[in-house]
Subunit: 153 residues, 8 copies
């Protein structure tokens, strides 16, 4: 019987190496995880609409067009995910991360949030909807190892 | 045949009078709308858990307890809503507003966002999931009047 | 025990008097029906976005904005409907009527189509998804009378 | 970990080579896409019912029988799809394309419409329910490449 | 606080007085029940399609047309029901009763079957999907009284 | 606009006065709540099947028959509830209380558990699925007052 | 890209060779179909409960026990199916076949019925919920070939 | 055509060898079953939260944190399961077993309970929601063999 593969979606911050740290930790642990994520190249993400479907003169519609194309990817992958990890960093407003968390919560997906303690109060609604709140990428790996293998660090 | 009542949930910012402006505009127009909202008294909202279920020594669990009690209200009312209006102001991170938008989107609820143009780029994913983006409370009233009565200003 | 009210949504053509004929027939029969419909004032419907949320320079986005506001109304009322009547007339392409039929079908709503025989071949997929195909507004009234009261003409 | 395969359903027009152009563009780009579509042989599609289940004397029931058999295919494949592309050409009424779009929208499937600008006003409701509107088959390939690989042309 | 009204759908046999016996028993007990049912006039039911939408020459399509119109009523009322009572008598094949039971079961509706013991073996799948199997209309009233009031006979 | 009525289901222990204390507290606070509950007369509940549908010789089937009739009531009322309160007392195994909590959780209903601290470890999975854990009936009233009115004690 | 496998559930009559005829026709046509079915050994099916879980003295509970075990199989496989074929023969009451059809219909599964014309009137509700009605096993093969390959006989 | 694999989740008691007995019986029978289960190492399960995400000073929140991490595993695997086996032993309160049964029931999953007769009365609601109640692990194997292969012991 082949082992079950867990689909894990990595939502949120795109300006630090947290995804790589989780992926390398999971690889080191040999866990059967298929990761997915939004497009993390900020410039490409901003051009997702105009780069594929043509220019727009109004910034609002330029963003709208790009967000539509990005949503094809993100909403499909979140619907496919077994677990959604949502990372909040210290820069930018990151409303799409909170939006993804709300979207996942309404679908009944288990959520793990990942952020520093200084964001705790601002993120209390999101953390409450999550099954776990981690402080480091390594803790997320530990949670995944336990969830998949039942092993503690 | 009695007229259909529309349930409209007013999510987001709690530090300006946008809810009152929408409610008074809707009342002036005589529209059959039943409004609902999160608890908008900031202090009460922060004490929702400890004020009802007892103190907590750790700030994280204090927030967690409060967010749980608030979620009973907010998620019930969002599930009940026909339309969800989500307001983003210029202060605070307002991740719960974006979370509510994601939650509503996954449930297939029509969303109207309400914010200034300087937030457009940061809110592009949320705006894309909305049916409309308004700049003023009065525009939201105009949208509701059209949606309910088919009348333009 | 008060009688059950049936919510009937009247989708499609907005350039003939079919809605009025169904409504007056139902009123004459004394049936407990609450009708709903898209905004049937063509000019208002086209201005739904720009008339409430401000002008747009590009025709595509003007339409997009209007269609978003109209969708708040139509999708809410279709979700609320017990029965969806979809009328196809002889003018215009009426893709929104077919879209509404598909939307209703996926939600498991009973559909009654209303159109002339010369459209039969072009509408075969839509008619197949419907529970009944009527040729006149009076037949729709007869169907509703039977469905609600069990009485034949 | 094997790469995720994306199921893409190609709905709508059957009288031009747009499906082939998308399929060859996707093949050239090496994207992991499994395409599906309605039966695109017009004569076979019209005979789907009588050719399998026996003749009918009435044209309406002939079409009804065929549409039932076609619906087994189309509704199954749309339910299976990750993304639904809907093409509107310049001939015929193509109500089934709009019906499929409505069906997909109610299921929460991401939609990409594909049509010329002269159909924009007539298709505004369908385009509003879509995540993207493309003008050429090549743009659809660009959208799929971005959605799947995060790469812009 | 007004008392909750229970919607009870009475499916199945139309050739005996079991519905009247349940309705009068429930009325005598003063229970807050709103009953619904298929059209129980056999001739009207058979003419539901042709009597409203015009004649058909083929018996199969005559039945098909009638069944479509009847389904608008029955499926709407079953979806609305809190409890579905399904009666099997000793005449006719009553496949529609078993179909309604399967439809209700897949929707998660509580089912009470009502039939004599000599049908037990043939109805074992349907009875297993039911919450209770009654032998008399009076037992159904007793079940409803208990369910609604908590009172035993 | 009439005030929203909140449906609150009171699951669990039937051997203490916790339901009365919540109901009188809610009445004193003037909150718009419609309470529902399983049948709390232990003897009647045990006889629910045999008292309505006839005796059984085997204890297993006697219980099975009764549990079926009780489930018509409990599952209907839980599906109708906005909030489910689940009480665990110090006697009996109360597996039906935990079952109801699991049932409510899978439906996405907000849950409030009510029990003493000495049950905390044994109930940790149930408490985690709840939005709040109360220690007294009065705390439940406080939670409901806050949820409905936004008022703290 | 490997070809899509279609899951086809064969419900109903267990006393003729219709399943074998469909399976051999599909094999001859080389169609990618995975068939499933209830247990078709009548004696084994009747003993499904007592043969696995121990004897019962009452015939009603003997059947109940068996139907429960059979339902684990049948409801799982119907939920998994892309298409449900339902065969009605000329013997027995076959209420489970009609129940399965209702169950599949409520889940939105495409249904093909298979029966002689003399059952048409009695099966009109079931046939109306189906996408196609076939008279021979060979016609079912023809429908599957068309649905999967788009080829007519 | 490769054989269908059945996903079977083994919920409940973690202090006896019932899982091993089912797994070895299924292996001996050569049945295509993929088993899953909660983490059955009691100490690890209690440390699931603090062992991965850091210590907690309050026992309630220590348990809460652990139950959140465990729920990521259990709720994902229950949602994936075709059949849920729920074992109740003679020690501990095992409320999580009953919670899992309620969760599975609301999702429409077939349930098999496994317990001694002395627990029958206390478990009557859970047993009623199950398709079968077994007394031994071997009976569960017999049920699975029948369900998958149609073979009786």
């Amino acid at each position: 019987m082949p082992e079950r593969t867990w689909n894990v979606y990595l939502a949120g911050e795109i300006h630090s190496d947290w995804r790589e740290r989780i992926e390398s930790g999971v690889a080191a642990a040999g866990l059967p995880v298929a990761f997915s994520a939004p497009v993390t190249d900020h410039a490409a993400s901003d051009d997702a609409g105009t780069g594929t479907l043509g220019e727009e003169s109004e910034p609002f519609w330029r963003d709208h067009k790009g967000a539509g194309v990005n949503a094809i990817r993100t909403q499909t992958l979140i619907r496919d995910a077994d677990v959604v990890i949502v990372r909040f960093g210290d820069k930018y407003r990151q409303w799409n991360a909170a939006f993804d968390a709300g979207f996942a919560a309404a679908l009944g997906k288990p959520i793990v949030t990942l952020h520093d303690t200084d964001l705790d109060h601002a993120l209390k609604e999101v953390d409450r909807a999550a099954q776990a709140t981690a402080r480091t990428a390594e803790q997320v790996v530990d949670v995944l190892r336990y969830v998949i293998r039942g092993e503690l660090p």
